[in-house]
């Protein structure tokens, strides 16, 4: 049994604050209930342990190099304090200061939020992963090192020492939360531990330049430089879409030519560019639906205009603003009526409710989720649809960003009820659903053995939900589909299903919503859903 840990252990150097045993994790339902059959975690390599901070738990998320001198260590600690004070100042943190202070100040430590956290529960109730644990560490640091801020702290032993151990553990711990906000939803007074985690990440990124490489260098910076976090420049994306158009035409018999940069179109559709390469059938399905429904739409080949990703959402307000403003600028240049964001919860939230904080005044442009657009198209009767073509068990994953955090709950269900006779809900679902485990960037972070941690811990509750939703048809002879209208969630669910061989063992596959809509169109020549692992 892992040793219980207390808040007072956090700033004390030790080899590792906590360790997880597979047997201690939350049990999974049959046929995955035998822990001995689960993959074993790869241990951290000795070179990684030597080079990077790894005294938190069994994995490394951010590859934070250990300082090579006392001078370097002192500099990091000074920057942390400087960043902490900026985080608490109106001038430097005007965008999120108020909700941050409310959450820091008013938590009553009732611990109600912890049971709602899938990571805490899946870990076997390991104290390190309590939402309140991380927030309380941060409160202690605010009390001791923040200037002019004194928060109420009712927990005994509130002292904390800011040293390399504290700093490196807190940096890592800020990447043990998917920012799903189940804690905030459960809290009787709305304390948002996810926001506190986000702000901690922001402090490390904006002040110390510490962030996962996959998110910053390979994500935000690449997007602003090349046009997309995938590395696709405008020519490559157009050629890739042309490929997809040709194949859609071949598969469906419907002539498809994706419009680019069409001035005056009603809709500027912005996908998560990762869809184009990882799940090309998804942008392909969008093109089929929009053309078949006679919509006036376009993609943009401007830099950033073809990629709805905004990684700044997770860790850096400056990057967030840069990308959001660019999207709005492109929409205005084209003179479209609105931007529609494709199947990506992250992009949807970033460009709607969060970008509201930056797209003010002349920067404003109308934005809409694809869920409402597709639901309107299905409701309108503009498409002929035959639900018998989707007669297999389907469950719906509710992406946190789209559903809990934006309230887009019903449209995708309306669509599924119209086209999927064997649609069944996961429990809980809607705004109470659980995170896929890949939120906040986790789905693209696989360095070291982080994949083991996220599939075994942060995605564990999602796997349990999927298995329970299909408990009446788990036999591999029955092909089953997890509908996940979100790129990031699909990536996480793909890795989750692959980790447990769920396609081979139980015939569980996954995909988006629009693919199911096209699969239901009687005029397409071949079934659109290809039952093969991808």
């Amino acid at each position: 049994m892992s040793k219980p840990i207390s808040l007072n252990d956090f700033d004390k150097p030790s080899e590792q604050l906590t360790h997880l045993e597979l047997q201690e994790l939350m049990p999974l339902p049959p046929p995955y209930d035998n822990v001995d059959e689960h993959p074993r975690w790869a241990p951290l390599k000795p070179q990684a342990r030597e080079k990077y901070a790894c005294s938190l738990d069994d994995t490394i998320a951010i590859s934070l190099p250990k300082p090579q001198s006392k001078e370097e260590e002192r500099e990091l600690l000074e920057k942390f304090v400087s960043g902490l004070r900026k985080l608490l100042s109106r001038e430097d943190n005007w965008s999120f200061l108020q909700p941050l202070l409310l959450s820091l100040e008013h938590c009553e430590k009732c611990q109600s939020c912890n049971e709602s956290c899938p990571i805490y529960v899946s870990s076997g109730h390991n104290d390190l992963y309590r939402p309140t644990y991380r927030s309380e560490i941060f409160r202690r640091l605010v009390n001791k090192y923040g200037k002019g801020q004194k928060l109420r702290a009712k927990i005994k032993g509130e002292d904390i020492d800011l040293n390399w151990t504290t700093l490196s553990r807190l940096a890592e711990l800020s990447y043990r939360c998917t920012l799903c906000r189940r804690c905030a939803q459960t809290c009787p007074i709305g304390i948002d531990n996810g926001l506190i985690t986000h702000e901690i990440r922001k402090l490390f990124s904006q002040e110390l330049g510490i962030a996962p490489k996959e998110i910053h260098d390979d994500g935000s910076m690449l997007q602003l430089k090349v046009g997309s976090s995938t590395g696709m420049n405008p020519l490559v994306v157009k050629d890739n879409i042309e490929f997809i158009d040709e194949e859609m035409e071949e598969m469906t018999g419907i002539s498809i030519k994706t419009p680019w940069d069409k001035a005056g179109a009603d809709i500027l559709l912005i996908h998560n560019a990762g869809e184009i390469m990882a799940w090309p059938e998804n942008p392909g399905a969008f093109a089929i639906i929009l053309e078949a429904a006679g919509m006036s739409w376009t993609l943009s080949s401007d830099l950033v205009g073809y990629d709805g990703i905004n990684y700044g959402l997770w860790y850096d307000d400056v990057q967030l603003a840069r990308v959001a403003l660019k999207h709005a600028e492109i929409a205005k240049k084209l003179g479209v009526k609105k931007i529609v964001i494709g199947e990506c919860g992250h992009a949807s939230k970033a460009l709607t409710v969060i970008a509201d904080r930056v797209l003010v005044g002349n920067s404003f442009v109308r934005r809409e989720s694809a869920m409402t657009l597709i639901a309107d198209i299905v409701d309108s009767g503009r498409l002929k649809l035959d639900p018998s073509r989707n007669n297999f068990p389907i469950t719906l994953h509710d992406p946190c960003n789209l559903v809990r955090l934006m309230g887009v709950v019903e449209p995708q269900r309306r669509v599924l009820r119209a086209i999927a006779p064997q649609f069944r809900e996961m429990e809980p679902h809607g705004v109470h659903n659980y995170c896929c485990g890949g939120g906040s960037g986790f789905a693209i972070m696989s360095g070291h053995n982080f994949n083991d941690w996220r599939t075994s811990v942060s995605a564990r509750m999602k796997f349990k939900q999927i298995l329970e939703a299909f408990s009446d048809c788990m036999d591999p002879s029955v092909k089953k589909y997890v509908c996940a209208p979100c790129s990031n969630c699909k990536g996480a669910i793909r890795d989750l299903l692959a980790y447990y061989d769920a396609w081979e063992k139980s015939s569980i596959n996954y995909g988006g919503l629009v693919e199911l809509v096209v699969n239901a169109m009687p005029e397409i020549k071949e079934p659109f859903i290809e039952w093969e692992w991808h």
Partner: protein, 131 residues
């Protein structure tokens, strides 16, 4: 030390719009007994492939004017040069490989070199294809 003697005398066409990449790849190629020729863009690349008939082509995906994706299609569509092995040089995410491999009317490239370019990887790929 790996044996690259089988590469001696081979002619490699480097298609890339970045002069630094052309220089670096060219140096690796020449230092290992091969001949490097280059082209700055897709159109020039196709022309040189036809005229020089290299033993292998390295192809940058992200070029201006014409992307490497389109170039790959054109190379494969020309019977005179379709049999030349093509190695794609790319900084694109790993999903790109999966995307290219699943395309119905395109043969996947014969190899990949990831950016930033690593000499050992280059020689390993070339040896595998030309050795």
């Amino acid at each position: 030390m790996a044996d690259h003697s089988a590469l001696q005398g081979k002619k490699i066409l480097v298609i890339d719009d970045e002069p630094d990449v052309v220089t670096y790849l060219g140096a690796i190629i020449e230092d290992n007994g091969m001949t490097a020729i280059s082209a700055r863009d897709g159109a020039e690349g196709i022309a040189r492939a036809r005229s020089e008939k290299p033993d292998l082509i390295t192809l940058d995906i992200s070029m201006p004017e014409k992307s490497g994706v389109r170039m790959l299609r054109e190379l494969q569509a020309d019977p005179a040069i379709a049999s030349i092995p093509v190695v794609v040089v790319t900084g694109l995410s790993k999903d790109f490989k999966g995307f290219i491999h699943k395309r119905r009317h395109l043969d996947p490239p014969d190899g990949y070199i990831a950016k930033p370019i690593d000499e050992a990887e280059v020689l390993s790929v070339l040896s595998r294809l030309l050795g």
